[in-house]
């Protein structure tokens, strides 16, 4: 393959896929427990702004990543409280989380807007493997978060399908009344998984400002990735490994302008139209994979979005 730009684009797409994948994996956990959290974008923004502040102040990437993730988890507990304890409408609560997250992160991040961060994740080179054409730059010369994301996806798969706790989570998402009768703590399970979802969304936001574009800006940082992640969960039929695949596809759509603008044969498409690509792709994916019938067949959790109230069964 002589197309160096294309290979570079593919390699960049892997990095661009990481935040989408992390956010979607988090949402997958929350949704598997039956709680729809539309607030991904808000949690990512909070994670991003907190991570940037810590990264800026300490210079430690990993500390920044940790703080960003924890901030996301803490922020998501608002949603858990409203939806699990107060049994509020999950859709409205998720939207509120986005609006509050946008406002709060912009308020907090006012002083650091546009400031660059001089530290970055260093790619890990897997020796000679990194020199394999195409596959080398794609898989064996990426930053540690790429590998961490893959590991997280595998861990979630094993957790949900093989363990006692995973069985309980799936039961809570499928039929909370049953799970409750069988002695599973429904509310606690939902809290934990909404907050794990927030943790991963916070991590996704943190990675955006630490690894992808090392600076903070409210509308530029997340640019709707949180919403794309929501669609991705549907596309992946609630399966973690398929999330990785879908995230790569969206990562590529986000970086496709890089490739197309560098090619002689490519028509001169205005930048604005290239920027629309991921959003158009999301709609297409949802229309094809998000149809009501298909969703039911492939395993949308049966109790998704329904608050659980023991007294009103």
């Amino acid at each position: 393959m002589n197309d160096a730009v294309f290979v570079l684009t593919l390699a960049a797409a892997v990095g661009a896929a990481v935040p989408i994948a992390l956010a979607a994996l988090g949402e997958l956990l929350a949704e598997t427990s039956g709680v729809l959290n539309l607030g991904v974008e808000g949690m990512m923004l909070i994670g991003a702004v907190m991570a940037f502040q810590v990264g800026d102040a300490t210079g430690s990437l990993w500390l920044a990543l940790l703080v960003g993730s924890l901030a996301g988890a803490l922020f998501s507990s608002i949603h858990a409280f409203l939806c699990v304890t107060l049994r509020a409408n999950q859709i409205v609560s998720g939207l509120a989380l986005v609006i509050f997250g946008t406002g709060l992160s912009t308020f907090i991040g006012k002083s650091i807007e546009g400031k660059p961060l001089d530290t970055d994740f260093t790619p890990i080179r897997w020796g000679f493997l990194a020199d394999i054409p195409v596959l080398g730059p794609l898989l064996f010369d990426q930053d540690p978060m790429v590998y961490a994301t893959i590991a997280i996806a595998i861990a979630i798969t094993l957790y949900l399908n093989r363990t006692k706790a995973g069985l309980a989570v799936r039961a809570v998402g499928e039929s909370p009344g049953t799970a409750d009768t069988m002695g599973v703590a429904v509310a606690a399970t939902r809290y934990v998984h909404v907050m794990l979802g927030g943790l991963l969304a916070g991590m996704a936001g943190a990675y955006l400002v630490l690894g992808q574009v090392p600076s903070w800006s409210q509308d530029g940082t997340t640019a709707g990735i949180g919403w794309i992640a929501l669609a991705l969960v549907v596309f992946a039929s609630w399966r973690p490994l398929r999330v990785l695949l879908g995230a790569f596809l969206f990562g590529f759509a986000r970086r496709a302008n890089f490739w197309l603008q560098g090619e002689d044969w490519a028509p001169d498409i205005p930048a604005e139209f290239l920027s629309m690509l991921p959003y158009l792709l999301t709609i297409a994916v949802l229309v094809v994979w998000g149809s009501r019938d298909l969703r039911r067949r492939v395993g949308s959790p049966s109790a998704l979005g329904v608050p659980y109230d023991r007294a009103e069964r």
């Binding site: 049994r87 409205v92 509120a96 509050f100 709707g224 919403w227 604005e272 149809s291």
Partner: protein
């Protein structure tokens, strides 16, 4: 063990004052929560809040400016309310507003040159409503026929509308762009026959009357017509609608189109009343998203929407006024943060209009 047990019990009867008290308390709680963040950032919350109210609600220009922003907020609030109450979540009023502005400004530029003012403005508004409805149409059709989540599609369409609008002004020499302007790219101004008249020396325009009239119209449709009744049934239960022979798909599509048209109308009133051109910088204010807060806080009641829109319009206005405070500048975004907090508290408070907290002593009969 805690000797008390807390439980939420469904209220069988509701009182009107509960639906007023909840939003009021949530606003207070949000200001209290906002105060914490202000303190952390080193601002004096009392000064900030005092200035905020002074700027928006005490002077003639403050009040009229608040009302000016209320105009699009009433319309985006209605756009959200019409469908949210049916459990359909068109969150793309923002994008529909952009399309309303694109269509409205096109109509203003192309069609209104020789028309009397009233007719010219009407043409802009109708074009805007059509633009908004068209932009909502794909989401409506996908939802009705494939069950595709309208939440994500309407939002994705918002991003696409945003890039489209930027392209028309910044990325190309389109019909909308003022190609004679030498410096920064900007939209072509619409003729005065397509503009709302202003109220004396203020920035407030006749769009306010239009917005209020539309709120009344929406109330009449929902409350008294068969279309409104069908929407209520579909919103509460698909199965009941099918059982009674109400066309579910048509009703869903209709509702989303109405919602989109209201969003588009908001864009058109901005063009005809404030911006006078397709002006991305003047339109990308998140008016569509704030509409969601307006609708939720007004508990989807058209008349309450007028009040809440005025209040949130004032809050937004004040953000700018705060820049004039001495010392370090309070970010404009404080009003955005407060909005989000108000909405969260309103949602939390909502449960207490449907339920009451019952506290009972746990029976101490058994010693384990």
């Amino acid at each position: 063990m805690i000797p008390f047990r807390f439980r939420l019990e469904r209220r069988l009867e509701r009182h009107w004052w509960q639906s007023v008290l909840t939003p009021l308390l949530s606003i207070l709680a949000a200001f209290a929560a906002g105060a914490i963040f202000l303190l952390i950032k080193g601002f004096d919350p009392i000064t900030v809040y005092r200035e905020l109210f002074k700027a928006s609600f005490t002077s003639k220009f403050g009040i009229t400016d608040s009302l000016t922003i209320a105009v699009p907020l009433i319309l985006t609030g209605l756009a959200a309310a019409v469908v949210f109450r049916m459990n359909i979540f068109n969150i793309g009023a923002e994008g529909q507003l952009y399309l309303g502005a694109i269509f409205g400004s096109w109509a203003g530029l192309a069609l209104t040159g020789n028309l009397p003012t009233v007719l010219g403005v009407a043409v802009v508004l109708v074009a805007g409503a059509v633009g908004g409805a068209l932009w909502a149409a794909p989401a409506a059709v996908f939802k009705a026929y494939f069950g595709t989540s309208e939440i994500i599609t309407t939002l994705m369409l918002t991003f696409i509308a945003l890039f489209l609008m930027r392209y028309l002004i910044f990325g190309s020499h389109s019909y909308w762009r003022d190609n004679e302007a030498a410096n920064f790219p900007q939209g072509k101004k619409i003729p005065s026959s397509a503009r709302f008249e202003l109220w004396s020396d203020t920035r407030l325009h006749w769009g306010l009357v239009v917005a209020i009239a539309i709120a009344v119209l929406v109330w009449v449709i929902i409350r008294f017509t068969s279309l409104g009744y069908d929407m209520n049934v579909v919103g509460s239960s698909d199965a009941a609608a099918r059982y009674s022979g109400i066309p579910v798909r048509r009703t869903v599509i209709m509702a989303i189109l109405i919602s989109g048209a209201l969003g588009g109308l908001a864009g058109a009133t901005e063009v005809a009343g404030r911006a006078y051109a397709l002006d991305p910088n003047g339109l990308e204010l998140g008016l569509g998203f704030t509409g969601i807060v307006v609708a939720a806080l007004a508990r989807y009641n058209p008349f309450a929407i007028i009040l809440v829109a005025t209040f949130l319009g004032g809050l937004r206005n004040a953000g700018v006024a705060l820049q004039g405070l001495p010392g370090e500048r309070v970010p404009v975004e404080v009003s955005l943060m407060l909005q989000g907090a108000i909405l969260l508290f309103a949602i939390g408070g909502e449960i207490f209009t449907h339920h009451r907290l019952s506290v009972s002593r746990v029976a101490e009969a058994v010693a384990t």
